[in-house]
Structures are given as structure tokens and as C-alpha cells.
């Protein structure tokens, strides 16, 4: 079912609730909202909270028939992510009321099982990188701001990071 059809099914059910359509919407959008949260909030718990809140707000809007253009469901979810993150920064607290009123099925928004990378293979692939590539990759993933003092410009770091991650992926896929 396309996004727009899903949105229409939820809207048409209204207060009768189309549980299957709602669960599908949550399964479809939870990973995107979680990634958005991890990217902008850099905190796993905050990203999990964002998933709950954004999906609750989306379902609320759909059930009430207030999403004007179902074709733009993805844009609406993204806009809600942006608004909630801004609200979080402003310290607004709409969340508690929503949590009391709406229930998003937990299994729909749980972290998907992440891909597992075999550690010995990963260590060997990291060892195969150049010294600077390894240093940039580790620093990039350990602490975002820790690569400032490598005698490298941000542009250099970006180029090295692209090259290193390309090599690392290729090495892991060759396993």
C-alpha cells in the first residue's frame, strides 16, 4: 500500500481505528524518524522519544482527518520531526498529554535488529586502512568533534572519511 493510501485508510477509519494500517505506518516511518533523531539529537533515548512523539502526532492528525494532502504524508512526518526537535530545544512539553491520550504499538517502533558486523573481520578491515583513514573513521564515530586537531582541514577530513568508509564497506562486503 502506498503512503497516500495508508493515510486515507487511517483517516477514513477515524475513531473506529484501522489498527493494521496504523501499525504499517509506524513500521514504515519509525526507522526514518529514528535516524532523523539520531542525526539531530545524537542521543539514542531522545531519538526513541522522538519516534513515539512524532508517530503519535501523525496518527492524531490522520484520525482527525486533518492531513489535507495524503500524497504528502512523508513531508508531513518530516515536518513534524523538525517541529518536535525545535520544541525540545525550546523546552516545550506537549508530550505528556499525548502520551496519556495515544498509544503507539511498541513493537512497531522498536529498534529494528541492526546489522551485525563480525568484530575480527572489522578489526582486520580497519587495520587495512591507512593511518589517517583509520584515525578519522574512529574519531568520526567515537566523538563527532574530535577530529579537529589532526593537522587536517575540514575538507580534508571529509575526503578522507569518504575514501575510508568506501574501503571499509568494500572490505566488509568482501568477507
Amino acid at each position: 500500500m502506498q503512503d497516500a493510501a495508508l493515510a486515507r485508510a487511517i483517516a477514513e477509519a477515524g475513531s473506529d481505528i484501522d489498527a493494521a494500517a496504523e501499525a504499517e505506518l509506524c513500521r514504515r516511518f519509525a526507522p526514518r524518524v529514528r535516524l532523523y533523531g539520531l542525526r539531530h539529537l545524537r542521543d539514542r533515548q531522545a531519538a526513541a522519544d522522538l519516534v513515539q512523539q512524532v508517530l503519535m502526532m501523525t496518527l492524531e492528525r490522520l484520525r482527525a482527518g486533518k492531513l489535507r494532502d495524503p500524497e504528502r504524508l512523508a513531508s508531513f512526518v518530516l515536518g513534524t520531526c523538525r517541529m518536535v526537535c525545535m520544541d525540545q530545544r525550546r523546552g516545550a512539553a506537549r508530550r505528556q498529554g499525548l502520551l496519556e491520550e495515544w498509544v503507539v504499538p511498541e513493537e512497531a517502533v522498536e529498534d529494528a535488529e541492526p546489522r551485525v558486523f563480525e568484530r575480527e573481520r572489522l578489526a582486520a578491515c580497519l587495520e587495512a586502512l591507512s593511518e589517517r583513514e583509520r584515525s578519522v573513521v574512529i574519531a568520526s564515530f567515537f566523538e563527532e568533534n574530535s577530529i579537529e586537531k589532526l593537522s587536517l582541514s575540514p575538507g580534508n577530513v571529509r575526503v578522507i572519511r569518504h575514501r575510508a568508509l568506501g574501503k571499509l564497506r568494500a572490505c566488509m562486503e568482501a568477507a
Binding site: L35, A112, P114, R119, E131, A139, E144, N145, K149, M172
Partner: protein, 175 residues
């Protein structure tokens, strides 16, 4: 690396200009394939972070990463070394990392190679301002080793020639 993956990497590390970031997020929210690729990149990052924390990987690191590791509460055993210096060293079971702080006259140096009994490691990261190279051996295999002597030389590589910046001797004993 495909252009698509390069964009995902830039997005994840905040390297896209704001207008391109907004447009890319619009795309991401409607693209299952990009979501899956970004999830895989995030999982790879987590695996790198975990492999580093578990002591499976060696690296020459930046001072910023060194500071970030301390801030995270990792237990670092430090050995500050001057050129020509020798030290009795070890790694305890409770140590997360050993960091050898190799001081050297690095002002004006463009490339540093690190030469050990195990081989030559070209173009290692260094911080000319602090005059240090931070060498971080992989802790997990180091904890399993018996006593040994490890000699390290830092070489400045200039044009077609090179010059010795410093030589350092580590007399390692198990803890």
C-alpha cells in the same frame, strides 16, 4: 563509493550545506532504499565504536579524541616520552587503553612516518602545536602478551629524504 553513499555520509556528519540537507531529508523520508543504506552506515559506525572500545583496534589518535575518551570515563594509562627516552611499561586488566605520548619537534613538519619492529606506518596523524604523536596500541592483544622490548622511531619525511625526529624504547612487562 557511489555519489548516493557520499551524500549519506555527508548528511550523517553534518557536512551538507543547510539547503541541501533540507532537500536531502525530504528525499530520505520518501526513500526506503536510502533509509536502509543510512541504517547500515549507522550500524557500521556503532560496530567501529564498539570495536574501538573493546580494544580490538590500534590507531594513532588526535588530542581531541584522546580528550573525548577521557571525558567518557575510559581508563587511559599514559606514557609521556621524550626523544631518546626509555620506559618500563605495562597494561593492567583494568586499563581500557595505553597511550604513548611521543613528543618530537614537529613544527613545520608535513609528514611523519612511525617505524617500529613490526613495520613502517606512513603518514600518521600528529599535532604540530602540541609537538606530540599519540600512539594507541590495540589493548586486547597487548593484555595477552608477555614481556618484550618495542622500539619506535618517528621520521619526518621531506621531499625525497627523511630525518629522525626521535627514538623511543618501551620495555613492556605483563601486569
Amino acid at each position: 563509493m557511489s555519489a548516493e553513499l557520499a551524500t549519506l555520509v555527508d548528511y550523517w556528519f553534518g557536512d551538507l550545506p543547510p539547503d541541501r540537507e533540507g532537500a536531502f531529508e525530504e528525499h530520505l523520508f520518501g526513500c526506503v532504499e536510502c533509509t536502509e543504506k543510512l541504517q547500515e552506515l549507522v550500524a557500521l559506525g556503532a560496530a567501529v565504536r564498539n570495536a574501538w572500545r573493546a580494544g580490538a583496534v590500534r590507531a594513532v589518535i588526535s588530542h581531541a579524541l584522546f580528550d573525548a575518551m577521557k571525558k567518557e570515563g575510559l581508563r587511559l594509562r599514559e606514557y609521556p616520552m621524550v626523544p631518546g627516552g626509555s620506559v618500563n611499561c605495562t597494561i593492567a586488566a583494568s586499563d581500557d587503553f595505553v597511550v604513548s605520548r611521543l613528543s618530537a619537534p614537529l613544527a613545520g613538519v608535513r609528514r611523519v612516518d612511525l617505524v617500529t619492529d613490526a613495520g613502517r606506518f606512513e603518514d600518521v596523524p600528529f599535532d604540530a602545536a602540541t609537538g606530540e604523536v599519540l600512539m594507541c596500541p590495540a589493548p586486547a592483544p597487548l593484555k595477552r602478551r608477555g614481556a618484550f622490548t618495542h622500539r619506535v622511531r618517528l621520521m619526518a619525511v621531506e621531499g625525497t629524504g627523511e630525518r629522525l625526529l626521535g627514538e623511543y624504547t618501551f620495555e613492556h612487562a605483563p601486569s
